[in-house]
Amino acid sequence: MSSDRFSRQSFLGSRAEEALAAAKVAIVGLGGGGSHVAQQLAHLGFRHFKLFDGDLIEDSNLNRLVGGTELDVTMATPKVIIAERVIRSVAPTAYVERYQARWQDHPEALRSCDLIFGNVDGYRQRWELQVCSRRYCIPYVDIGLDVAEVGDEGPKMRGQVILTVPGGPCMKCVDFITDENLDEEGARYGDAGPRPQVVWANGVLASTAVGLAVDLLTGWTRSVPSERVVYLSYDGNTGVLAPDKRLRYLKSSSCRHFTAEDVGDRALRPA
């Protein structure tokens, strides 16, 4: 380790500092989940960030957006600028590229990343990130949270953290994304609605996602998930975060939705 800053995380391994500093990380969505992710990565010593979010902060974001202030709401500050400010307050010399847009408008920027964090709404958006991560051979960490009112049982808070790697099962393989839920969402014109969100649950999921990413890049736990995918479900009512039951029904540690050859740019081949 080259400095005192990371002395308390030296258990991550002798090359961890270099590995985290070198990794180019994309954070797609810088609201409740992504803002925590950005802050934690900066503390850990990550130095290369590509931030994607087209939105400006609003009053209704202040209950959870890390780094957001009342002044930002007054000024309608873009979320990517708030995230950059948080990162630079910890790591002033970090390389930060801001894209105040959808990632689909800057696909080549996303493809150049070594790891993608997706903090997006809805299944369609998740699936598009999954497809890009497979075509360009990039690990993808997905986090999401939802609160549903079921009958008169009271609100149920549920969330997930899923880490997929190329070759291993995808989010369809683990049955998190299905054609039915994609269709259902499509019928609602992709509008997932304003989902209830709270800072502590976003924090649990984002912290867990960051922990998985650090292990992926440093191998510090020396454990490899036998299924070649991590799918953790969060029960926000009880606070339990555990491997999802659907993993038990996983038939293979390979993906059946993307073939090995489904990589790279889609191009017309010469005859």
Binding site: S112, P139, P166, A260
Partner: protein, 166 residues
């Protein structure tokens, strides 16, 4: 422009397992790795998707070289590359952990094979990949280049090794 090979860890493991197998007489094994070339913001990506070992009978029994493959082996690689217009990398392995690089004989071989593959698929990146038990290095010819580029190789899976060499 810099080049990055993003190699799935399961493919890397499969190549190591194959290249470690003893051959009846050759001292080391060889294979060919096929992939697609893609464009990212500030780099070219090579994304391999299939490894094809050179069959036992396509090695030459030559005492001077550790592994020499015959004309059929190269012909097969050429044909496949031409047909699919993919990238093709000649793969071999140096036993041991940590970073490794091509030896003088390796480089001579590559300077013959790289440009010949380039003629088969002009839109691809072609050259060589040398593995150790834990890492890989690459030298490849990009479309239109007459001299090869030293690329980086990241191994993607559990765990993911990001190549941070300049």
């Amino acid at each position: 422009m810099s080049v990055l090979v993003r190699l799935r860890r399961d493919l890397f493991d499969a190549m190591v397992a194959d290249l470690c197998r003893p051959h009846p007489f050759a001292l080391e094994r060889v294979g060919f790795l096929y992939g697609k070339l893609a464009r990212a913001l500030d780099l070219r990506l090579v994304i391999p998707f299939e490894y094809v070992p050179v069959p036992d009978e396509q090695y030459l029994d030559e005492p001077d070289a550790a592994a020499t493959i015959n004309a059929d082996a190269l012909f097969d690689a050429h044909q496949r590359t031409r047909r699919a217009q993919d990238c093709c990398l000649h793969v071999h392995m140096h036993l041991g952990e940590g970073s490794t690089w091509f030896g003088t004989t390796d480089l001579k071989t590559l300077r013959r094979i790289g440009p010949s593959l380039q003629r088969m698929a002009k839109g691809g990146a072609h050259g060589g990949l040398v593995l150790s038990l834990s890492t890989a290095s690459t030298l490849l010819w990009l479309p239109g280049d007459t001299e090869p580029s030293r690329g980086r190789v990241s191994i993607v899976g559990f765990p993911t090794s990001v190549d941070w060499r300049r």
